[in-house]
Amino acid sequence: LRQPVLQWRLDLINTIEEMAARDYLGNFELMILLAIMRIDNDAYGVPISDEIEATTGRAVVLGSVYAALDRLEERGLVTSRLGEPRAERGGRAPRHFRITAAGIREVRGTQRALTTLWRGLPQLKGGRA
C-alpha cells in the first residue's frame, strides 16, 4: 500500500513543480479552449459564450471572452480567420477561432495536472461538498 501512496505523492509534487515552472492555463481560458473544441468549425464569439453560459449557468461578458482569446492567440494556442460579413450582424464578419496542436497539448497537460491533483481527495468522494 505504501508504494502507490508514495508514487501518488511524488506525482503530486512533480505536478505542482511543473505548474510553477509553466505558464498554466487559467480557468476561463481552459473553458474557452474546451468550448472551441466542442463547437469545432463554427467557433466565434457568440457560440463560444453561449457554450460557456450553457455549461456553467453563468452570464458571460463578451469582452472577457475576447480578452482571453487574444491571450490564447498570442501564445499560439488558437488561430483565427475572418468569416463572411452577415446582415444579422450589422454587416460585420465573425472571427472564427480554431484550436492549434499546441493548444490541444496544453489542454491535455492541464487535464493531466488537474486529474492528479483531484485523485484521492476524500472531500470530493461521494459527490458531496
Partner: protein, 180 residues
C-alpha cells in the same frame, strides 16, 4: 432608453474608443446577441467591459509610451504658454492636438492618461508625491510643473472628448504604436 437605441450608441462608442484587431467582430457579436431582446443594461455591461478592458490593456501594454505622452503634453503646454505666450485655453488645445497626432494609434489611453494625470495633480497630496518623485529626475519637475500651470481643465476635457470622436481603425498588432 430602449435596448436598440442604446445599442447603437454603445456600438458608436466602441468604434471610437476601442482599437483592438477583433473590434468589428466584437461589435458584430454584440449585434447578433442583442437580437435575443437584450436590455439597455445588458448593452451597458457588455460594451462597458469591452471599452474598459481595451483601455486597461492598451495602458498596460504601452506603459512607457503613455508616460512619455504625459511628458509630451506637459512640455507642449509649457512651451505654448511660456515661450509662445498663448493663453491657457489655446496652450491646452495645442497640447491635446500634439498628443493626439503623435500618439494616434494609442490616442485613447494617451488622452485618458493626460486628463487623469492633470485632474489628479489638482489634488495637493498627489501633486506633492509626484513632484517629490520627479524632483529626482532633474528638469522633469520644472517641465511638468510649468506644463500643468498652462492646462485649463474644461478645455482639456472638451478637446480630449472632441479628439476621441474620430473613428479609429483597428490596430494591426505588428504595427508601431507611435504615429510616423
Amino acid at each position: 432608453v430602449t435596448g436598440r437605441s442604446s445599442g447603437r450608441l454603445w456600438c458608436w462608442l466602441i468604434e471610437r474608443l476601442v482599437s483592438t484587431p477583433h473590434r468589428d467582430a466584437m461589435i458584430g457579436d454584440l449585434i447578433e446577441q442583442s437580437r435575443r431582446s437584450r436590455s439597455g443594461m445588458w448593452w451597458a455591461r457588455q460594451a462597458g467591459a469591452i471599452i474598459l478592458g481595451s483601455l486597461a490593456r492598451e495602458i498596460a501594454n504601452h506603459r512607457g509610451l503613455v508616460a512619455t505622452a504625459l511628458l509630451v503634453g506637459c512640455a507642449t503646454a509649457a512651451l505654448a504658454g511660456n515661450v509662445t505666450g498663448f493663453s491657457p485655453d489655446v496652450a491646452t488645445v495645442v497640447a491635446v492636438w500634439v498628443v493626439f497626432r503623435v500618439y494616434r494609434p494609442i490616442r485613447v489611453s494617451a488622452l485618458f492618461a493626460l486628463v487623469a494625470f492633470t485632474s489628479a495633480m489638482r489634488l495637493a497630496a498627489v501633486s506633492f508625491v509626484v513632484m517629490s518623485v520627479l524632483g529626482h529626475f532633474g528638469g522633469l519637475e520644472f517641465l511638468v510643473g510649468q506644463g500643468l500651470r498652462h492646462f485649463s481643465m474644461p478645455v482639456l476635457l472638451g478637446s480630449a472628448l472632441l479628439a476621441l470622436t474620430a473613428r479609429q481603425r483597428p490596430v494591426d498588432p505588428s504595427a508601431s504604436p507611435i504615429a510616423v
